[in-house]
Symmetry: D2
Subunit: 286 residues, 4 copies
Amino acid sequence: MLPESHILTFSCPNRPGIVAAVARTLFESGGNIQEAHQYDDVETDNFFARVRCNFTITRGIDRFRESFARVAETQRMRWALRARADRQRVLIIVSRFDHCLADLLYRWRIGELAIDIAGIVSNHPRAAILHQGFADIPFDYLPVTQETRSQQEETIWNIVQSRKVDLVILARYMQILSDGLSVRLAGRAINIHHSFLPGFKGAKPYHQAHARGVKLIGATAHYVTADLDEGPIIEQDVERVSHHDQPDDLIRKGRDIERRVLARAVRLHIDGRVIINGYKTVVFRD
Amino acid sequence: MLPESHILTFSCPNRPGIVAAVARTLFESGGNIQEAHQYDDVETDNFFARVRCNFTITRGIDRFRESFARVAETQRMRWALRARADRQRVLIIVSRFDHCLADLLYRWRIGELAIDIAGIVSNHPRAAILHQGFADIPFDYLPVTQETRSQQEETIWNIVQSRKVDLVILARYMQILSDGLSVRLAGRAINIHHSFLPGFKGAKPYHQAHARGVKLIGATAHYVTADLDEGPIIEQDVERVSHHDQPDDLIRKGRDIERRVLARAVRLHIDGRVIINGYKTVVFRD
Amino acid sequence: MLPESHILTFSCPNRPGIVAAVARTLFESGGNIQEAHQYDDVETDNFFARVRCNFTITRGIDRFRESFARVAETQRMRWALRARADRQRVLIIVSRFDHCLADLLYRWRIGELAIDIAGIVSNHPRAAILHQGFADIPFDYLPVTQETRSQQEETIWNIVQSRKVDLVILARYMQILSDGLSVRLAGRAINIHHSFLPGFKGAKPYHQAHARGVKLIGATAHYVTADLDEGPIIEQDVERVSHHDQPDDLIRKGRDIERRVLARAVRLHIDGRVIINGYKTVVFRD
Amino acid sequence: MLPESHILTFSCPNRPGIVAAVARTLFESGGNIQEAHQYDDVETDNFFARVRCNFTITRGIDRFRESFARVAETQRMRWALRARADRQRVLIIVSRFDHCLADLLYRWRIGELAIDIAGIVSNHPRAAILHQGFADIPFDYLPVTQETRSQQEETIWNIVQSRKVDLVILARYMQILSDGLSVRLAGRAINIHHSFLPGFKGAKPYHQAHARGVKLIGATAHYVTADLDEGPIIEQDVERVSHHDQPDDLIRKGRDIERRVLARAVRLHIDGRVIINGYKTVVFRD
C-alpha cells in the first residue's frame, strides 16, 4: 500500500531558490513528489505552487511541516498543507432551486466528492425543496428579509464556526451576501452564476438571453468577494442553444451547466488545485 | 444523376394552411422535398421555413416560381428561391489581421465554400496583409479616416452594386460601418466579433479578459445592423483558456475561434439556413 | 392559452406529394404547424418527418387522426401521433451502478423529463443501490444467471406488458438482453454504452483506455437490437482526459458523460425526435 | 526585458530527491523557475518533468547545462534542454490532401508556430497540391510504389539528416512508413489520423462511419512508431455530425478537426510539453 498523500500549496513573491528550498526540505523529510505544478505570474511577480507528495519515513510529514514552516516564513508564503484523505467540511446554502444541491449530494454519496457535509442552510423551508434523501444531514431554515439580513448572516457565520466549516458552497442561493460575510468567507466560499455572451444585467437573465437570440449559454463558478460583482473565476462552461429554446428551455439547459461547473469547481478547490491571485485564480488542472 | 436542388426560404405571419399551400404548389410543379424545416415563433407569431427540393419534370422550377409568387403574395411572405448550385458573389472586407481572410480563401479554393469571390477590400494596403496567394482576386485598398468615411463607404457600396455582390463579409474589419451603409447591407453583411463571459466594453478586450481571469473566450458571428450594438446572432463558439494564457495567447486562441465561427456562419448563410427574425435569427441546422 | 400540441412522426418510401397530402389533411382538420422537419434519405429513398401541431377547432385532432390514417395507408407509412402532454410510461432497468438512475429520477422529479415511471427493475437487491428517495416507485429485484435468463426476461416482458410500458431504459444494466427480448423491445429500448477512440473489446474497457493513453472518453446511447453489437445510435458525447487520470478517474468522468448522453437520448426519444432508419437514426434536433 | 527562457524536460526512474537535485542545480546557476510540472507515473514508477526557466547571471545556462548533465547521469535521465526561442526545424510530408499543410503554413507565416520549415515532401507532384504560396520552401516530389518504398524512404531520411530536421509532420501522408524509418524517427514524427466511435478498419472510414450513423467524428494526433497500429496519442478532438451529413460532409468536417488537432499537437510538441511514456504520453498542458 502506498504511503498517505499530502497536498502542499503556497504562493509568495517570486525569487530564485524557492523550489530548491522546498524540494530540499521535502527530501530531508523523506518526502517524495508525486505530482507538482509551479507557476510564476510575471505581472505580479508572484510564485504559485501545488505539490502532491508522500513520505517514506515514519513521521516524515511532521518533520516536513516543521521545517517547511521556517521556509515559508522566510519566503513570506501563504500556504496550506494537509493529508489528501482529510475531508473538508462543507456547508451548502441553497434557495428554492435544488439542482446543484441534488448533484453535489449525489456525488458525495457515491464517494466522488470526498467531503463531509456539515449542513444545509436555506432561506426556504425544507418542504420547499424537491430533492429528498438528505434526512441524515442537519438542515437549517434561515429565512431572510432586508431587515433581518445581518442577523441571519450572523447565524450562518456561527454555523460556519461551530461546525468547523472549511468551505461554503452557494448552490444557487438567490441572496447576495453582505460585504461583511463575504470578507469573513474570503477564499472559502464558492458561488455559481449563469453567464451569457453578451452579458445581461438585471432580472430574468434567461429571458433577456432569449430576447437577444444568443446561441450559447453558460455558467461561471467563482469565489465570493466583497469588492467585485463577481469574484475570482474558478471554472466556466457553456452549452449550445437555438431559436427553438424558449426561456424555460434555457433555464433547463442552464441547470445542467450550473451543476456541472459547480461540481468541477468544488472538486478543483478541495483537491487544492485553485490558488487565488488577486482578482484571478491559478488553477493547476490534472 | 439527381435533378438539380433548389433552396426555398420564406417567412410570413403564421396562419393555418401555409405549408399545405406551398406543398401543393410544389407537388403540382413536379417538385420533390429533399429536406425541410418549419418553425412558428410563438412570440411574434411569424412562420419560418426552408425547403430543399428538386423537380422531376422539365421546367418544373419555372412553373413553381410562377405559382409560388402568387402564394407568397397572398401570404405576405418575404422569400427567396434559388438553385443550390448557384454561387453567391461575396465581397470580403478586412483590416490588417488576415486569419479570417486566409481561412475563407482556403475553404473557397478547395471547393468547401461554393461561392464566387467578387473582391477583397481593405483599409490597409495589400503589402500590409501577410497572407499571399490571392493574386487572382480584385483587391481594393480603400483607406479611411473620420473625414473620408462617407466617401470610402460610397466606394464600397459602388463595388457591391457594380459587382453584383450578394454577401459582404467583414472578416475582422476594424472599422464601424455607418448607419447608412449598415441599412443598405441589411441581411447580407456578416461580421465576426470576439465575445467574453462576462462581456467587456472598450479597447483591448483580450487584455481586459486576461485581467479578469476568464476561463473561456469566444466569438460571435452576426448580421450587421444600424440600430444595434451587435446585430442578429448567427453562430457563437468558445474555447478554454487558463492562467497561463497571456493576452497574446488569448489573441492567438481567439483567431482560431473567430475563423471557425465566421466560416460556419457564412456556410449557414449561403446554404439558406439563416432567416432573420427581428433582433434574432432562425437557424435551420443540418 | 394555446391549444394542446400534438406530435406526428412518420417514415415511408419517398415520392412526390407526401407533404402536400399531409399538410392538406392537417389544414382541413383545422391544424396549425408549430414546428416541422422533413428529410429524404437518398440512399434508401425513404422519407422521414416530424410535425408538431395544434388544432384550432374542437375535435380537430380526431378528424385529423382519421383522415391521416388513410393517407398513411396509401403511402405505406410507419407513423405515430400523440398529444405532446401525454406522458410515456418508462421502465428503468439497472444493475449496481446507479448514476444514470439517480439522474433520470431527478430530472423526472423536477418535471424536466415529462414521463411516468412505471417501475425500476434490477438484477441486484434494493439495498445494493446507493441512491435513495424512490420509495414511491415499484421496484423489482430480478436476479439473473445463465440458467435463469429466459425466465427472468419473461418476467421483465410481463412487467412491460402489464404496466403498459412505452419505453425501457437500460440505465447501466450490465446484462446482455437475449435476441428474443431485444426483438420484442425493438425501437422502444434505449441503452447507454461507454465509447472510446479507438474502441476496446472485452472486459474493463476503462482500464484498457487508460493503458492506451487516450485523451478523450465518451458514451453512446442507442436503441437495443438483436442483430447488431450496438444498435442505431441516438446520441454521443465525449470528455477530455489526461495522463493524470487513473482508471478510477476515467470511470468517474465516464459517469458524467453517460448520464448526460442517456438523458439527452431519452429526451429526444420521448419528444418524438428520433426515427429509426435501418442501422441508423434520423434525429430532428430542436 | 526578461532574460531568455529555456525549456528543460526529463524523465527517469522515480526516487526521492530528484526535484531537490534539479532545483538546487538550477539555483546555483542563477536560474529562476517560471513554470514547472512534475508527474510520477505510479504504474511504471517513472518520473516526468518540464521546467521553463531563465537565468539572471551571465552564462548561467552554460553552467546549468554542465551541472545538470551530471545530475542527469546519476539519475539515468532522458532529457533535453534548449532555449525557448530556438526554432525547431520541421519537415512536412503530405500526399494530395493539403488542408493540414495549408493550416500549418499559415500558422507558421503569422508567427503562431515558431518553427523553421526545412522542406515539404510529397508522393504527389507539386501541381497536385491546391494550396499555393509556398514558393519559398524547398519541395521534393518523391513518388513511391511498393517496389521503390525503401529507396524513397532512404531519400526522406537523407533529407532529415542533411537539413538537420528536428520534427517530421505527416500532414495527411497516405502512406505507411516502414518499421525501419519509424524507428529512426521515433519521438520526432507526428501523424494525424481520423478517429471514430466505434472505430472502423479498412478503406473509406468516413463512408463506414456514415453507414453506421455515428453522431461524432474525430481525429487523433500521435507519434509514429513501428510496433503499434497507432503510436502514443498526443491530442484528440471530435465534432458533432448528423443524419444530414453525407460522406462528403464527414470528410469536410474531418478536415477541420484534423488540422486543429494536428496544429495543437505540433504546438504542444515544440513547446516541450509532451514526453513519451511507453505506449502513452505525458502532456503538460498550459
